[in-house]
Amino acid sequence: MSEFIPSSSPKARWTTAVALLVVSALFVFGINAYGKINPYLLRVIIVMGINIILVLSLNLSNGFTGVFSLGHVGFMAIGAYVSSILTLTLNTKALNLPDLPAWLAHVQMGFLPALLIAATLAAMIAFLIGIPLMRLSGHYVSIATLGFLVIVHIILINWTQFTRGARTFSGVLQYTNIWWVYLWILITIYIVWRIVNSPYGRALLAVRENEIAAYAIGVNVLRSRLLAFVVSAFLTAIGGGLLAHYLTSFSPASFYFTATFNIIIMLVVGGIGSINGSILGAVLVTLLSEILRNAELGITLGTIKIPPVYGLSQIILSIAFILIVIFRRKGLLGDSEIDWSGVFIKLIPKN
């Protein structure tokens, strides 16, 4: 969707270093101050970390293949709900989800297996809907994935047996901590990096830049896109599961348009197609959101607590988004990346 200029410039390498530094800093900070750290600050860092995972995985699909999915939050929801259902204690299950089928009502598993099962389920769904969807292009795939999001939302609201419908799903054990988040960030960065630098990845890049040329040189367009889509769904679901087990309660509304827009903003701010950018975007927008949300905290009407409305922060974010799109379309880092020239040279077949 935009001109790709491979850069091995010092700037690109430097920003990688910064990105890694930032991530490590979170880690070090986490270790050092763990227990002593201001719980609020810790919360922000953890949410920031989860956002990094979400944006990176979204970038894998939207940024690197040009399959601009607007429905990824649907996978996030699947990850959240499925993993939560699996980890709920039997008591909580009996209380909150009395109508669960027997095979589920007696199951309680650990965090990791639940996450993996949920993510695999999301990946399988992504595979199924992906096969037909990958043939579409441009607008159409965006609208189709949007349709997917709406379908997931409707199912969540109506399948009360499993989801408590539109009501809050609570009682989830808070398994997520800074360690888990950090681990999954590293895994995500690694996976995304590996894919983008693999033969599949080079195929992805070719596909993004020029689909017709990609066909011409024999790149299997559909397979490359599908792989990216499925993997990104997997990782997004992990992110959803992590979030669910941090917030401990959520509802279908948590995984709908507001979430979609927030993640997309992070993606665009950081720069579509840039790994560093995704990290940077997630960090910046999360911080900005928090600052704005604090500005909103002044609004409490007597004894009535207004549930997360995100009024002001959404408004400011949407304005910021429009401004960025007008003035700095490529985001903060655009396509600049970590030493792509090497990759590019390998792309040209030797003959």
Binding site: M1, S2, N62, F68, L70, I129, P132, L133, R135, L136, S137, G138, H139, Y140, S142, I143, A144, L146, G147, F148, V150, I151, I154, I155, I157, N158, I212, Y215, A216, F257, T258, F261, I264, I265, V268, I272, V309, Y310, G311, L312, Q314, I315, L317, S318, I319, F321, I322, V325, I326, R329
Partner: protein, 300 residues
């Protein structure tokens, strides 16, 4: 109620629902045809029209003037949107334009949530009460709101058709959505055409908003969202970018929805909207250019 009577009843409901979708879809299709922009904020225009009416009615002026002023306000908002948010990104990659319109939509919705509450307000005291009268014809009940919806929509279609075929500006619009470059080269005032598309589309969305709110009886800041999505589906079914297609798709959707509610088992009826979107995805897969669109694929 005999089967025939049931059929008639549902047909009228379907026509009525389809009409509202058509009014919204036309605006979407008009803008998409010219700019290749999917305007997410289009649905919010429905909402704004209703809220403007809501506040104007308390000033004591009659429904007629309130209606006109609301539509005017929403038309201006549409034009403003184009000027401020969409013009600067004209020519940008499709994705950017899509995201910009998403941002505009979220902006508008949240402004309204922030300054008004997200709690729904009643629209009953705004719409003239004669709309609620149900005319009985045998066992079939035809409410006035349905008749009004269908009639108003029909009138607007006729006017719009006359506009795009008989007037210079309308013809310019058609030419522009056919081929932007050619339109520029023959001397079409593109900015004016785009402005007109937004103005007409917004006005129609505003009218649709009134009709929708009259059916529902209430308004809330997020009310435009579902009709927008449905209008999307309608436009895609009929062939995105073509006005005729949008209209046909809207009625197809209206009928599909009404008869789906009728024939789905009760346990699944709340999933009705999900089926609508499955339909969307199916159409995109089988015939992405819609009923009226060509079956051309990108030529190499």
């Amino acid at each position: 109620m005999t089967f025939i009577e049931y059929l008639i009843q549902q047909t009228i409901n379907a026509l009525s629902l389809g009409s509202i979708y058509a009014l919204v879809a036309i605006g979407l299709a008009m803008v998409f045809g010219i700019l290749r922009l999917i305007n997410f904020a289009h649905g919010d225009l429905m909402m704004v029209a209703c809220y403007v009416a809501f506040f104007l009615i308390s000033s004591g002026i009659g429904f007629g003037p309130v209606f006109i002023l609301s539509i005017l306000a929403v038309t201006l908002l549409g034009i403003l949107m184009e000027r401020v948010a969409y013009r600067p990104v004209r020519g940008a990659p499709d994705v950017i334009m899509l995201l910009t319109s998403l941002a505009v939509s979220i902006f508008i919705q949240n402004i309204f949530i922030m300054f008004l509450s997200p709690v729904p307000r009643s629209f009953r005291n705004i719409t003239p009460s004669f709309l609620d009268i149900v005319n009985k014809w045998g066992a079939v009940g035809i409410s006035n709101i349905n008749i009004v919806t269908i009639v108003i929509t029909a009138i607007l279609f006729i006017l719009l058709t006359l506009f795009v075929t008989k007037t210079r500006l309308g013809t310019s619009m058609r030419a522009t959505s056919e081929n932007l470059i050619a339109a520029q080269l023959i001397g079409v005032h593109i900015d004016r055409v785009i402005l007109t598309a937004f103005a007409i589309g917004s006005a129609m969305a505003g009218i649709a908003g009134f009709l929708w709110a009259a059916r529902l009886g209430k308004i809330d800041p997020l009310m435009g969202f579902i009709p927008l999505l449905k209008a999307f589906v309608a436009a895609v079914i009929g062939g995105f970018g073509s006005l005729g297609g949008a209209v046909i798709g809207a009625y197809v959707l209206g009928f599909a929805e009404i008869f789906l509610i009728g024939f789905l088992p009760p346990s699944l009826s709340s999933y009705r909207d999900a089926f609508v979107f499955v339909l969307l995805i199916l159409v995109l897969l089988i015939r992405p250019n819609g009923i009226l669109g060509s079956t051309e694929r990108e030529k190499v």
